[in-house]
């Protein structure tokens, strides 16, 4: 291009009149020169456009950086809740938002031994501040030749202050996250615990480990802390009174299957699970499998009524013990003559229940128990869930014993949800520890019994509390209905006479059950106040009564103050029986 321009230069100085010359030159430009000029102009234009575009891009980007992309600060400033920073494990809260588990920053002490001048002296001074680490171990760690070694993780603020005051060079702190359980042992079995690196090792902490690690939103459980406290307190009172080795309790929403409270005693401190023995860490409510005894008569009675094999007015002879295989089935408190179904249920007659079960047969029993979820592990959101122990093969004798709750071991949570299905109109909801509203429950529920069978069972269970073995569970105003259970424990293949499980399962209010309460005491021992009895009716029923009368108002169940209990002889279900004596004293069994 330069060459072409220079080529037309020589003519320039010769011109005198510039305008004329320009005109002439313009005119005289031949095709070759014109083309060169055009090329130059085009190139200039292209370059100009490119530059303009680039500058425009840069300008827009500057505008964008300066004015438009300030969002993060705004978001940070206006975030409504105290959102923790990214790496923090989410909280676990109860249904009312009370914190059950949270993550707090704690200082951990480490050392760079190469910078520690006098390891022995430093170890001695440190051991005065950190009493749970021995001076010898500290000295050994401080005199190693590594550049990093933990001395103690998770210091209290006071300990941190005192370590700082020692002024030993070569000691450093690092902020770490530590799981903290404000409720201590109250919810230990449900919430579980984590290891020192905040990895879930038990309970909800383990089953929701990834969820908790990956989100900020707190995980809401179905537990109600107040009910949990009431249940735990009443169970531990009963444990102390009857010198029992353990206890378990469940409170379940009968309409949704939500576990409002779930307790297992003895409990442990989740902040230091290593110090607890395995007995305390064992979750009796989900992992423990127990032969529940007479509580199972609920399912037997419901199944035979549902199948149509037995009608409510049918009578069965309970005067003679049943001999089958090498067993003899007796009643705890033998009765004479024939009893109707309601009487068999409320006096908890083993013989009568076996007769009823045999009317319907093994298949009905198996199908009902399977439909109630008693033959498969409960689907509750905990890693610690026991698989029911079934008889194999399921012979006739097994049908007989299972009808009154021996020979089939289940855990308390699945038992409670099966009872809930029996009383709530006949729909089984899988037990859950997460919140579930009634619409969801309706969608996922499975019908097991007809509404009329369920209504009949409600009457029978109310009867048991009004006149039968469960009288001590009658919380005034709450129309409690339920069933007692007492089962001898298996020890080395035989049933022990002195070791038993006393249980009671109740629901309230019985005209439209809202909650099911289960209480179980492991190996209670009778005392003078109970005339030496340690049966479900004496041990577990009072626990349920106390739990219901204390928790009822909290759960929003309205107590009635006009509950009328007719004379036993006048009760519609019992009126046909002339032989019922008025002074029958029923020892709960």
């Amino acid at each position: 291009m330069t060459e072409q321009v220079r080529a037309c230069r020589p003519c320039q100085p010769q011109d005198i009149d510039r305008r004329a010359a320009a005109r002439r030159r313009f005119l005289c430009m031949d095709g070759h020169r014109k083309e060169a000029l055009e090329t130059g102009r085009t190139r200039l234009l292209v370059a100009g456009v490119v530059f303009a575009f680039v500058f425009a891009v840069i300008g827009l980007r500057i505008l964008d950086l300066a004015a438009l992309s300030g969002a993060p600060s705004h978001v940070a400033a206006r975030h409504p809740d105290g959102a923790p920073h990214a790496a923090q494990r989410a909280d676990i809260v109860d249904r009312n938002g009370n914190i059950l588990a949270t993550t707090l920053p704690v200082p951990s002490l480490y050392a760079n031994p190469r910078e520690v001048a006098h390891p022995k002296d430093a170890a001695e001074r440190l051991s005065r501040v950190l009493p749970d680490v021995s001076p010898g171990e500290l000295a050994a760690r401080l005199s190693s030749d590594r550049a990093f070694i933990w001395l103690k993780r998770g210091l209290s603020p006071r300990q941190q202050y005192r370590v700082n005051r020692l002024g030993i060079p070569g000691l450093y702190f690092r902020e770490e996250e530590r799981r903290f359980y404000p409720q201590g042992d109250l919810t230990a079995h449900v919430v579980g615990f984590t290891d020192i690196d905040n990895k879930g090792l038990a309970g909800i902490e383990q089953s929701f480990d990834e969820v908790l690690a990956g989100q900020h939103r707190s995980l809401r459980l179905s537990l109600d802390l107040r009910v949990q406290h009431i249940l735990t307190e009443e169970l531990s009172k009963a444990m102390a009174e009857f010198r029992a080795i353990g206890a378990a309790g469940v409170v379940m929403d009968a309409r949704t299957g939500e576990l409002v409270a779930m307790a297992s005693l003895p409990s442990f401190n989740p902040a230091n699970p290593g110090a607890a023995d395995s007995e305390a860490r064992f979750n009796r409510a989900t992992l423990g499998l127990y032969e529940m005894g007479s509580v199972f008569k609920i399912f037997t009675t419901a199944s035979v009524l549902e199948s149509g094999a037995v009608r409510i007015g049918d009578r069965f002879d309970v005067s003679k013990p049943i001999r089958a295989a090498r067993f003899t089935i007796r009643d705890y408190k033998p009765k004479d003559g024939k009893l109707t179904v309601p009487e068999i249920f409320m006096y908890s007659s083993n013989i009568g229940t076996v007769h009823m079960a045999m009317e319907a047969g093994t298949e009905v029993q198996q199908n009902t128990l399977a439909a109630l979820g008693l033959t498969t592990p409960a689907s509750v959101e905990l890693p610690e869930v026991g698989t029911p122990m079934l008889p194999s093969p399921w012979r006739e004798i097994n049908t007989m014993t299972i009808s009154y709750g021996h020979g089939l071991a289940v855990n308390p949570v699945q038992l409670t949800s099966a009872v809930a299905a029996t009383v709530n109109g006949g729909v089984l909801h899988q037990p859950t520890l997460l919140t579930r509203d009634e619409a969801e429950a309706e969608a996922s529920g499975k019908r097991v019994f007809s509404a009329s069978t369920s209504g009949r069972m409600r009457q029978l269970m109310r009867l048991t509390v009004e006149y039968g073995t469960g009288g001590k569970a009658d919380a005034e105003g709450y129309l409690v209905g339920g069933k007692t259970g007492t089962a001898d424990k298996l020890r080395g293949g035989r049933y022990a006479r002195d070791a038993r499980i006393a249980s009671f399962v109740g629901a309230f209010p019985m005209d439209d059950p809202r909650y099911v309460v289960f209480a179980m005491v492991d190996e209670p021992k009778g005392h003078k106040g109970t005339f030496g009895f340690a049966t479900g009716g004496w041990v577990a029923a009072p626990v349920v009564r106390e739990v219901i009368s204390r928790a009822g108002p909290l759960l929003g169940v309205e107590p009635r103050d006009n509950v009328v209990v007719p004379e036993k002889e006048e009760h519609p279900l019992l009126v046909k029986v002339g032989a019922v004596k008025k002074d029958v004293r029923v020892a709960a069994r």
Binding site: S73, A76, A77, G82, A83, P84, H85, N98, I99, T102, L104, P105, F180, P182, Q183, G184, L186, L225, R226, Q228, H229, I230, E233, E476, G477, Y478, S549, R550, P553, E558, P559, R560, D561, N562, V563, V564, V565, P566, E567
Partner: protein, 137 residues
């Protein structure tokens, strides 16, 4: 002409330079302030988090019930203490004895009460029926 425009441009350039300088330092100052505010927010959040945990720890049901037993005269709720709104006595808001002419009636010059004393009779009667059915046989 050229000189005038040149001077104007120089002045404009100088003004822009000064403006830029001012804005730049203002921005820097604001950035620092923002940083301080943000770290304050973060600190407050962490403190809030710790305090929430402490609040939850201090509100353990076991501790509350112990404190309530020690310091309060409260007792567990009894079923008979629960009542419906309908069972409450009616609330009287209108003076009942007012006459149309605005004068208050009087007996021998002594004005009668503006409200008729509310009678407990119907409520006692209904309460009595409730009590009799509520008693266990």
């Amino acid at each position: 002409m050229i000189r005038v425009s040149l001077v104007i441009w120089l002045i404009v350039a100088a003004a822009v330079a000064v403006g830029l300088y001012q804005v730049k330092y203002e921005v820097q100052r604001l950035e620092e302030e923002l940083g301080v505010v943000q770290s304050n927010i973060q600190e407050n959040r962490e403190a809030l988090h710790v305090l929430e945990a402490e609040w939850s720890y201090l509100n353990r049901p076991a501790r509350l019930s112990r404190l309530a037993k020690e310091h309060l005269d409260l007792q567990p709720l009894q079923p008979k203490q629960v009542a419906h709104v309908q069972q409450l006595p009616p609330r009287i808001t209108e003076p009942e004895n007012a006459r149309a002419d605005g004068e208050w009636p009087s007996l021998d010059g002594v004005p009668v009460p503006r409200r008729r004393p509310w009678s407990l009779q119907p409520q006692i009667a209904s309460g009595a029926t409730l009590a009799s059915t509520g008693d266990r046989p």
